[in-house]
Structure formats: C-alpha cells, structure tokens
Amino acid sequence: MSAAPKTPEVDPRILARLKTIWKDLPRLNYYQLLGVSQTAGDAEIKKAFYSASREFHPDRYFRFPNENFRNAVNTIYKRVSEAYTILRSPQWRQAYDRQIAETPLNVRFSVQDEMKRQQQGGTLYDGGNGPGKRYWIAAMDALRNKNISGAKLQLQLAVGIEPGNENFKKKLEEVKAM
C-alpha cells in the first residue's frame, strides 16, 4: 500500500482529502489530522471527529470493490479514532500536548508509555540518570522554546558523553530531521 488510493467512484473532494492525509499521515499530529487547533474545546473536537467519521469511516466504503482503497481508508480512520480517543481524555490530552511540544515529530501517543510514566512518576522521555542528563534537560528546554539548533547542540553533547544511550541518539536523529 505505498501508492495513494485511487478510485473514480468516491466524492472527488473527499478523495482529494484522503490523498493528502494518506501522504502526510506519518507526520500529522492528532490536531492536524482532525483539522482543529490545539486550543480546540471538547465540543469542537467531537464535531471534527464526527465530520471525519462521516467521510472516512470504513462503513461508508463497505460495498466498495477496490480493496487497496478500502484498506487505505481503514488505516486513516484508525488513526482518526486514535486521535479522538486521546484528545477526548483530559489527562491523555495534556500528556500528548507535552509530547508534541517536546518532540513534534513524535505524533502518536502511547497509552502504555503514559501508564508506565504515571506508575514511575518520571517523565516520558527520560534520558536516564547518567552524566549526559543535564545536556538532555537543556535540550528539552531548548525544544520547548522552539530552539532547534540549540537542542541539536545539547543533544550532540549528550551523545558525546554517553555514546551508548539509545534515547539520546534517537532524539538527536529526530531533532536533526526537523
């Protein structure tokens, strides 16, 4: 399923939107996917979810012959319902907002990580307690202030002092890609 879904029978406006979302799916955060601002209230999020459901719910394409197309719609809709599940929960939404502020490319939320974080009382993207910790914290601060180059510098220092720390390396790659 690498190609964009193609079919002549769908409403052309919906098809155009499907194609755009399909292409951007790995990068869209939940707000962008639902087409709402990050300050949207619960009612607005619900409205956006309903509207996306009317367009993309698999039941709408139940009798559709093209299986690739149906699979693509299904993939998109599963992300839509994931977005709604997280954004309609005040606790998860708060944690998700923190996540995309720190790591904008990390657009999916993990309930598993969040539950672990709550159990441990730590932060989700803990870099560990090694000597690189202070650079890590400085990098996170820089990210929050949208200072990408600063974050990159701090993370390079962190990786230099703890070359074995996978979290540092992963985060550095993410920041480099920004």
Binding site: Y50, S53, R54, H57, P58, D59, R60, Y61, F62, R63, F64, N74, Y77, K78, S81, E82, Y84, T85, R108, S110, V111, Q112, M115, K116
Partner: protein, 521 residues
C-alpha cells in the same frame, strides 16, 4: 444482491429481523413465534430441532437438549462459568483441545460455535421463508462486554451456518439504533441491557446521523438466569425443610423446578404474589409422592435478588464514570432485554437514574431490530445511513516479565483502532520472542483473560536489544483483535494469527460447516 438480516443471538431467546419498507420488522416463524428459545435438541446425530419444540424436550431429553449455551461460547474449560455450568446443566460439558469447551451429545463433541450455528440456521430459514429468497449475509449481535474470543466464536458460528457475517454488533448499540433511528433525537442515553445471561450498560450520544458510544461496561456472568437460580434455591430449600427431600440431587425434578421458577418470575411481573406448584415433584423414602407448593411475594423475590440488582449498578457506576457524565446529564434510560420486564428491576433503575426508564420498543425485540437497520445500512453501502461509532469494552495488553500486563489499547477506545509496539530480544542471539495477549483491567496477567499467544520466530542472531520487531495490534469494527509484525531491519512483514486459546482454526470451521450442513434443522 440478496437481503441482509439482523440476528439477536441471545442466551435464552433469539430473534431475526429485516428491514421492510424502511421499518425494522421481527420475523415470525412457521409456528407463529417471533421470540425463539435458544435451545438446540438432537433427535439423532443428523436431525436437530431448535426453539420451542427443543425447549419442551429439555425435561424429556435433558442429555440431548442444549440450552443457555451462550454462557459457554468462547470460554475456557477451566473458567468458573464452565465449572458452574457443569454442575447445573443436564447435558454433558467436556474439555476440547487448547482449554476449549465442547458439548458431548450422543457420540459426538460439538464446539459452542457449532451449537450456535444450529440456532442461526433456524433464524436463516425463518428469514428465507419470509423473504422468499435465499439469505447469505447477516449482522449478528453480541453483548458489548464480550471479549475477543467470544466475538470470534460467534462469528465462526455464522460461518458454520453458511452466513457471511457482515458485522458483529454490540447489543446495546443495536438497541440504541432501533430506538433513535430516524428520530433526530440529540440525546445522551443509557442503555440498561439485562438479558438472559449477560448484563451490559452503554452510554451513548445519539445525534442526527451519528450514534456514538461514549463508554460501555458489563458483566457477562449476570442475567435473568441468575434470578431464576435464586428462585430455584428458595423453592428447593423450602421444600427440603418441609419434606427433607433435596431436589437438587434429582436432575429431572430440578429441570421441572427450573421451568416453574421461570414461570413464577414472569408471573411476579404482573402479580404481587405467586405460588410455585409442581405436582408429585419427588417421592420420599417410603415411596410417597410430594407436591411442591410454595408461595412467594414480589417483595421477598426482591429481597433474595437484592445483591444481583446491586451488582448491575456497580456496572452502571463504572460506565457513568468512564463517560465523564453525571446522572443529571443523562437524557434518557432505555431498558433492553426480557429481564428488564421485572418491576423490581424497573423500580431500582428509576431510583438509580432518577428518571422513568423508557420502554418504547419491546425490550425482547429491540436488539434484533437495530441489527436489521445496521444490516441494511451496510448492505446498501450508502452514505445516507446512520453511522455507529463504537468502543472496545476491555483493555488490550501484553504480558510482561513478573506476571504483569502492559496496556496497549485502553478500554473505551474508539474502534476500529490500532497501535504499534516495538519488541526486542532480551538475550544475545535470541531467535524467537513469545508474546501473550490479554484482555481485562487487572495489572496482573493471571486475573485477565488470555486471548492467545504468538511467537516471533526466525529472528536473525544478534546481540540483545538489536533486533527490533514492530508489532501492530488491531481492533476492527467487530471488536475482533488481529496482530501483524514487521522486522525493522528487513522490512519483512507478516500477519500473525493469534492462536485464540480454544478457538477454531479455518480448517476446523470449514469441516464443521460441511458436517453441519448434513444435519437437518
């Protein structure tokens, strides 16, 4: 394309419905009945009867008449429910492969899916006679709180019955659809669904064209049967005090008592007092026959079932909490399931929700009617129908070291949905990883239901932590779980079949379908 039917496959009764001129209509069978007892009775290995005739045979042919089998479908042989059923059911319940449950009749072991398939074939036949054409597709309802194994087993039953199951639909969701269909309600409603063997509560927001389940909770071990059991206990205890004869040791007498208890329960819905009466139910040591004649008031009935009713409200609490709503924000309470005809239930529901429950549509028929609406909507494939947005009733997780569970998809998540988790090796040169999948709310894996397990094998030899496998867990619109895996380094993708413990393989389903078709229903 033929018509698609909606089937409410209940613990005690089943109903089939279809959309006629845009209206959901429960179908009457050739005996003039809409509500068909979910009983399968074997006349011989190649001939079964279903429904009222089969129910009558429970007393005459207890070993070959299978009832309340929905209580066993998708269960593990060693579960409490199965142990309990073994004690009270007159038919033989035996262990099948992989902890599964089989019903032994005559010379043959039947899976619970095969038993349910006979009921579905009867429903199919009734629908075909009504429509005058062959029916090959259906929407089948299940309790919202059914887990993956129970849903899968129900879907398999459809396949064995020769039906293409378009959707496994949650019963309360179906009821809400029938209730709100075409009414432009814009309400938040609670569906209180007490069936023969299961209890569900769903909180829904009904909009113009969208029916959204906000939260659902349930107890698949609680239903009208339990109220019958309390009456059976009361009558048996009282009879023992009077005669020193223990009816519970006499399976035939117990069957008669069960039928009478059900009759008394129903009578107590209209009358404040009723007397259970069975002529010459048992004989004492001297051979003298004794009649059972014991009166009971509705008040006493309420007292001996008080804890059962309270259990339903614990579930109601849970659903309300999960929906972030208060009782005051609920616009309506809808009663579903034959057991909600009991005035003691209606009074308790009124006290809990502080409003009169609605009984607009027959609580026995409403689920099948909703299934028929959804069936039509799916088959027409039109964007005009109402959209049902449902949730998964139980959390999905994987087992971790130390007997704990990590939740991957939380309960009440919107479905369909999926999540991906990266698994890695914990030892050098480890070539396989075993993953156990659970459903339930406990932190301890042992207290949850194991759905099954799978093994990621043929991993390349490498230092620990280097091999990374992305495993995607999917829950589809039927609430059924599937798993696929992708090796990060090779990009090799494979769909993994979770061996649902106790589930049937494709080959077994196909074989069962062929064998089942040889049996006349």
């Amino acid at each position: 394309m033929g018509r698609v039917i909606g089937i409410d496959l209940g613990t005690s009764t089943s109903i089939v419905a279809v959309l006629d001129d845009g209206k959901p209509v429960p179908i009457t069978n050739d005996k003039g009945e809409k509500i068909i007892p979910s009983v399968v009775s074997f006349l011989d290995p190649s001939h079964v009867v279903v429904g009222t005739e089969a129910k009558k045979r429970i007393v005459i042919e207890p070993k070959t008449s299978v009832y309340s089998s929905k209580r066993l479908i998708g269960r593990k042989f060693f579960s409490g429910e199965v142990k309990k059923a073994q004690m009270i059911m007159p038919y033989e319940i035996v262990e099948g492969e992989n902890d599964s449950v089989r019903v032994h009749v005559g010379e043959k072991d039947y899976s619970l899916s095969e038993i349910a398939a006979f009921i579905l074939r009867d429903m199919k036949k009734t629908a075909e006679a009504h429509l005058g054409e062959e029916v090959t597709q259906a929407v089948i309802t299940v309790p919202a709180y059914f887990n993956d194994g129970q849903r899968q087993a129900t879907k398999d039953a459809g396949t064995i019955a020769g039906l293409d199951v378009l959707r496994i639909l949650n019963e309360p969701t179906a009821a809400a659809l029938a209730y709100g269909y075409g009414k432009d309600l814009n309400q938040k409603v609670v569906i209180y669904d007490l069936g023969g063997g299961t209890f569900d509560v769903s909180v829904l927001e009904i909009g113009t064209d969208v029916f959204e389940v906000i939260a659902t909770a349930g107890d698949t071990y609680l239903g009208g049967d339990d109220f019958d059991d309390r009456l059976i206990d009361y009558f048996a205890d009282t009879f023992f005090q009077q005669t020193k004869i223990d009816l519970r040791k006499d399976k035939l007498a117990l069957q008669k008592l069960k039928a009478e208890a059900e009759r008394v329960k129903i009578a107590l819905s209209d009358n404040l007092e009723e007397t259970a009466f069975i002529e010459a139910v048992a004989t004492d040591k001297s051979g003298k026959p004794h009649d059972l004649s014991i009166p009971i008031t509705r008040n006493l009935f309420a007292n001996i079932t008080y804890d059962l009713i309270q259990r339903t409200f614990k579930v109601c609490d849970e659903a309300l909490q999960a929906s972030n709503l208060t009782v005051g924000e609920i616009d309506g309470v809808i009663l579903v399931g034959g057991s909600t005809r009991m005035p003691i239930i209606q009074d308790a529901v009124r006290n809990y929700y502080l409003k009169d429950p609605k009984i607009g549509i027959d609580p026995d028929l409403v689920v099948a009617m909703g299934a028929a609406i959804q069936a039509e909507s799916l088959s027409s494939g039109s964007a005009a129908g109402s959209l049902l947005l449902d949730v998964t009733p139980q959390s999905l997780g994987v087992g971790t070291a130390g007997g704990l569970v990590d939740v991957l998809i939380a309960r009440n998540s919107s479905i369909p949905t999926s999540t991906t988790r990266t698994f890695t090796t914990s030892r050098d040169n480890q070539t396989s990883v075993r993953i156990q999948v659970y459903q339930g709310e406990s932190r301890n894996s042992a207290e949850n239901e194991i759905l099954g397990e799978f093994v990621l094998s043929n991993l390349p030899e490498a230092p620990r932590g280097q091999v990374k496998i992305d495993v995607t867990f999917d829950i589809d619109t039927d609430g059924i779980v599937s798993v696929s895996a992708r090796d990060q380094s090779s990009g090799r993708e494979e769909h993994i079949k979770i061996t649902v413990s106790g589930g049937l393989s494709q080959a077994q389903i196909e074989k069962a379908r062929e064998e089942s078709m040889q049996v006349a229903v």
